[in-house]
Symmetry: C2
């Protein structure tokens, strides 16, 4: 016989056990040395996290995988100016520590361009190349200089490749001294997870595809690329002549540019990288649930960093360690969660969500049948302002929670109050991208997910300047934003772990879906019908309302016998499994691995960031004659409609 | 608060409520008129079943679908003999009732052959065409006469098509008067389910592919075919000359054959059929479980027949109706199952498992999360002798149950005793085929399944002679085999519905899998490793043993509080979901729709009837040079190994 839970008491204890000094200390310890995935310091960081969990008396596990990663071997870049001078351009931050990896793009092929003319391609989008074409600028055979800000790195390279560009230099704009010298590392691989084991766990002794396998090589670009500093990019761009830079381009550039090229500046660029299989490690702490140990609430953060990782990701790691500390405190006070809580420290996220994806692929069935929600924090703090992305059934809970956590920058306010003020309306964003570890959980396994962070677009992103000092001086001097992030994160997990009935509200989901349909209607031509979507959303609304009533009834009713226990369990099962209905075994046009039909990737030229299959079909139809594109679009609409109906069926619970 | 279950008492009451006279009466009522799927009499049969359920006070539902079926319009066959005479050959049974459909092959294309020479191709297998080739017989441009007995009808036609044959006449051998005149109707469609809605429910107003869609047309043969009687076939075959019939062929033929052709007999054959979308109806009775209404035990039988359906399938329908009657009796005595029992009457099975498949496609997620087992009975009685096919975790239960049911033909014996005597050892067959309604449940949805029947290979199969009179005179004069079949079927369901812990034993599964590996090893060459399979089976054995102990502990322990209830529920969830681990989202080489990697279809030239992906890869490698075929075989082996590991992981229940 177990004591009544008294969850509210323990949850309050959780909030009051916050300590900004502790968080700061964790961050300092985590960021002393660079810790790139697959290197010894990365293993040391894994041990640090593991030791922390063990010291708290928590059940701790390490899961090892053996994916194909990518490292730089050597690179050089020289510019030859029309006046005959040439200069070796700097490819790293000044005085980069020897144990920090030089800037590079993971999975860029080796290659070179000799005396290739430089051309500026703005953000590297279709419309940018179209603009260059319109002013007679031929990019084929050139080295393109592109500024980041629109497409993913991989999409920038692929777009350039399709135009005949030989190599791409990418830079991130910046206005401060160090942000103009910082160089943004990153991955150019397409998709997520170990490229040698698509759909299964890449482990030593397990199956691995070959590098020459088409499915593997399709993940990597065919032309080499390199990140460069804003300063370096400016040196090149300021020297270009040729076509006149379009005004829409120059008005947002931070410096003067006369022409976009090609040339007369020519570049000698050479990059050699190596891809190799290395061990990576995910670290876990498990707090077994008392009544429902076979129900999982997962909190995840990646641990690997390009360099020191103070913001990205170890501000989140500090929060994870702190939550562990506070949960352990609660356990000492007599608390046990109803459902199991799993704290996850991922490896190799920076290479393409690899640690999380391999683990999800390995445990797909188990997670599918037991995981209630996945709560991701990558960069807990980048600066001021609370941001959250979530699957809509979690909206209501997010709002409730943020009303209970103090705002870090405004004494008398809650996180919610400042958050609501900032965006004035629809604050919760959606998880359409594949930019952090929620991707495998939501878009492959169909698990309701959340991603939260303070601040946006911090200037030292993926550079050697992402250090504890930067955080202490700029990101979060008082570490109160860390406190707030950890508070929201930890309390979210506690509510999901302890509430008798899972706090999901599917009416929010239905409303969001209807909003998506309203947008899609305007993109469709003539005889493509969204009626199936409308019908299925109606079904979902109807069922969601019934479930709200049922949930209310069951959460107050004092049904203690077997029947009551199993009735609540049955309802919770339906609430937990509903999101799985959005998965379709045939996956997305972008890639079969991605199964979620509402949130997921589509071609970078797509116009909408939801219903990715529909988005891709609409994009592809643009190039087709007559009504050829119509049938695929209609088919994708049917698929989404059936997915929504599945969600309604599972949520409603009545098969016959 | 509910009274203790006292299941054993009610289960005994079930067995003692058997009545052979009742079963006979049901069969007579069901078989008065032919009831082909999609016709009015078929709808009448649905109403009969529905009315029966309603009269018992059972919750009854009808699910309607709108698949593409196929019907004959006209056909003609004439033989031209070398002596100048010609004769119109009979294409139906003598004096076929006007409301019985003429013999035909569903989904055969329309077509004709004019003055095409007839050739005998034995069973129509690769080796038979090879034998013809070896004696210089050219089949291209001929009409092939083939006897049934090796391949499916569709595979016979496809094989003939690949050899250039123009049309196929298929006959079933028979030695009695009516079996020589009976004509075996059947489907030649490849795969299961409505061809216009692969992967979703074909309903009015829903999505449907077009007939010209490649995915649709690939389901149908390209040359026409027709079933003929043995008598008709003999008329043709006895007149052939040309190549001398191989001795292996003639020694098993029932009549004298001089030559195999081609000719000199020439045939004029013409068939016109139409494919059209029609409504079909599945009928259900639901007995809601008291404690776990969200757990389903399904009993299924198809109701549609080619003609009168006394054996196929309405001996099974009679049993289903009788089980309903007896369950209702038990409910009147105060019984309620723990889990829900759903009695399912399928439509359009004969066309390709259509009624069951559409329903499973529509409810895949719900069934995946709630269905404990699917118990199929197609022909309950074809003759003497008990037969059972099952997924191995149900072996032990099957044996227990058959020890409790009286044998119908031996007074002092149980079904088990006579069954064990008959085969002397490993009596339980496996569900590798796609010949009845278990196919979508097991091979698409991963639900543990059973199929039982009395007797084998009855001579009036799919002919107009499958009537009540045949059953009363030959199949089961005393209707005691019906009693036994209904007894085993109904008791299986009761145990699955009422046992506190699901009576699954995964050690049997592990042993069966090891047996498969032992067979496969002998088919593999050189450097293909089965080690991954061995490892994963070891893991399954280990977990299965632990689960046996855990199940024993939890079934006796008096844990009545919330913790106890949820612990049993958690174990039952693992037991229920384990089979799903054999599903792979990428499906089989034979067809992506088929997801189960242990049981499912493969090319008819495959050498093994399990691990269908491996089987297909081995077959395909036979035609490849060097080591080209090796990698696909190894990949399929990895896939099965990972599936077995998934099963072990789900069964074991520990993610970390
Ligand atoms: Ca993988
Ligand atoms: Ca279908
Ligand atoms: Zn990150
Ligand atoms: Zn990052
Ligand atoms: Zn049948
Ligand atoms: Zn049949």
């Amino acid at each position: 016989p177990h004591a009544p839970r008294n969850a509210a008491h323990f949850h309050r204890a959780f909030l009051s056990s916050a300590s900004n000094a502790t968080l700061a200390a964790y961050l300092r310890a985590l960021t002393l040395r660079p810790h790139l995935a697959g290197t010894q310091p990365s293993l040391d960081a894994a041990h640090l996290v593991r030791a922390h969990f063990l010291s708290l008396g928590l059940e701790t596990r390490v899961a090892r995988f053996a994916p194909l990663l990518s490292y730089p071997v050597r690179a050089s870049l020289a510019a030859h100016f029309p006046n005959g001078t040439s200069v070796d351009l700097p490819l790293t931050e000044p005085r980069l520590a020897p144990d920090a990896v030089v800037p590079y793009h993971a999975y860029s092929p080796s290659g070179s361009a000799v005396r290739a003319l430089a051309v500026f391609a703005n953000y590297g989008r279709e419309e940018d190349y179209a603009a260059l074409s319109a002013i007679g600028v031929e990019v084929a055979g050139c080295v393109a200089v592109v500024r980041r800000g629109a497409l993913s790195r991989g999409d920038v390279v692929r777009a350039a490749e399709s135009k005949g560009v030989l190599a791409v230099l990418m830079y991130t704009e910046g206005r401060t001294a160090w942000s103009r010298r910082g160089v943004e590392r990153g991955t150019v691989m397409r998709g997520v997870g170990d490229p040698l084991s698509p759909g299964w766990a890449g482990v030593e002794g397990g199956e691995a595809l070959g590098l020459e396998d088409e499915e593997v090589s399709a993940r990597f670009p065919k032309i080499p690329s390199m990140p460069v500093s804003a300063e370096c990019a400016e040196m090149i761009l300021a020297s270009l002549e040729g076509g006149r830079a379009p005004p829409e381009w120059t008005e947002t550039l931070g410096f003067k540019v006369r022409g976009v090229g090609p040339g007369p500046t020519a570049l000698n660029f050479s990059y050699q990288g190596e891809k190799k299989v290395v061990n990576i490690h995910n670290v876990f702490a498990v707090i077994r649930g008392l009544e429902e140990p076979d129900r999982y609430i997962l909190l995840g953060n990646h641990r690997d960093a390009w360099t020191y990782g103070a913001v990205d990701p170890n501000s989140g790691t500090a929060a994870l360690l702190d939550i562990a500390r506070r949960y352990a405190l609660m356990m000492h006070m007599g608390w046990n969660p109803r459902r199991s809580i799993i704290l996850c420290s991922w490896d190799a996220e920076e290479f393409g969500m690899i640690g999380s994806t391999e683990w999800v692929e390995q445990n797909l069935m188990t997670l599918g049948s037991k995981a209630v929600a996945y709560l991701n924090v990558d960069c807990a703090v980048q600066g001021p302002g609370f941001f959250a992305r979530a699957t809509p059934q979690l909206d209501e809970l997010l709002i409730e929670i943020t009303k209970k956590v103090k705002d870090p920058d405004n004494k008398e306010a809650t996180v919610y109050e400042m958050w609501a003020k900032a965006d004035g309306g629809d604050n919760i964003q959606r998880l359409s991208g594949i930019d952090s570890d929620y991707a495998p959980f939501l878009q492959y396994a169909g698990i309701p997910s959340v991603d939260i962070y303070y601040g946006k677009d911090f200037p030292v992103y993926h550079t050697a300047y992402d250090t504890y000092d930067w955080m202490a001086n700029h990101g979060d001097p008082l570490f109160q934003r860390h406190v707030a992030a950890a508070g929201v994160w930890g309390l979210l997990a506690l509510r999901l772990a302890d509430d008798l009935i899972l706090p999901f509200n599917y009416l929010s989901y239905a409303n969001q879906l209807q909003g998506y349909v309203d947008i899609v209607i305007n993109l469709l031509e003539g005889n493509i019908s969204v009626h199936p979507l409308t019908l299925s959303i109606q079904a979902l609304v109807s069922v969601a309302k019934e479930v709200e009533l049922e949930a209310e009834k069951l959460s107050v009713e004092r049904m203690t016998g077997e029947l009551g226990v199993l009735r609540r369990r049955a309802l919770n099962d339906r609430l937990m499994l509903a999101e799985r209905g959005f998965l379709d075994a045939d996956g997305l046009p972008y890639g079969r691995w991605f199964k979620h039909l509402v949130y997921g990737p589509s071609d970078y030229r797509s116009k909408i960031s939801f219903f990715p299959g529909v988005a891709e079909a609409i994009w592809r139809s643009a190039g087709m004659r007559g009504g050829e594109g119509r049938a695929p679009i209609q088919h994708e609409i049917w698929r989404v409609a059936r997915a929504i109906q599945r969600v309604a069926d599972v949520l409603g619970g009545r098969t016959l």
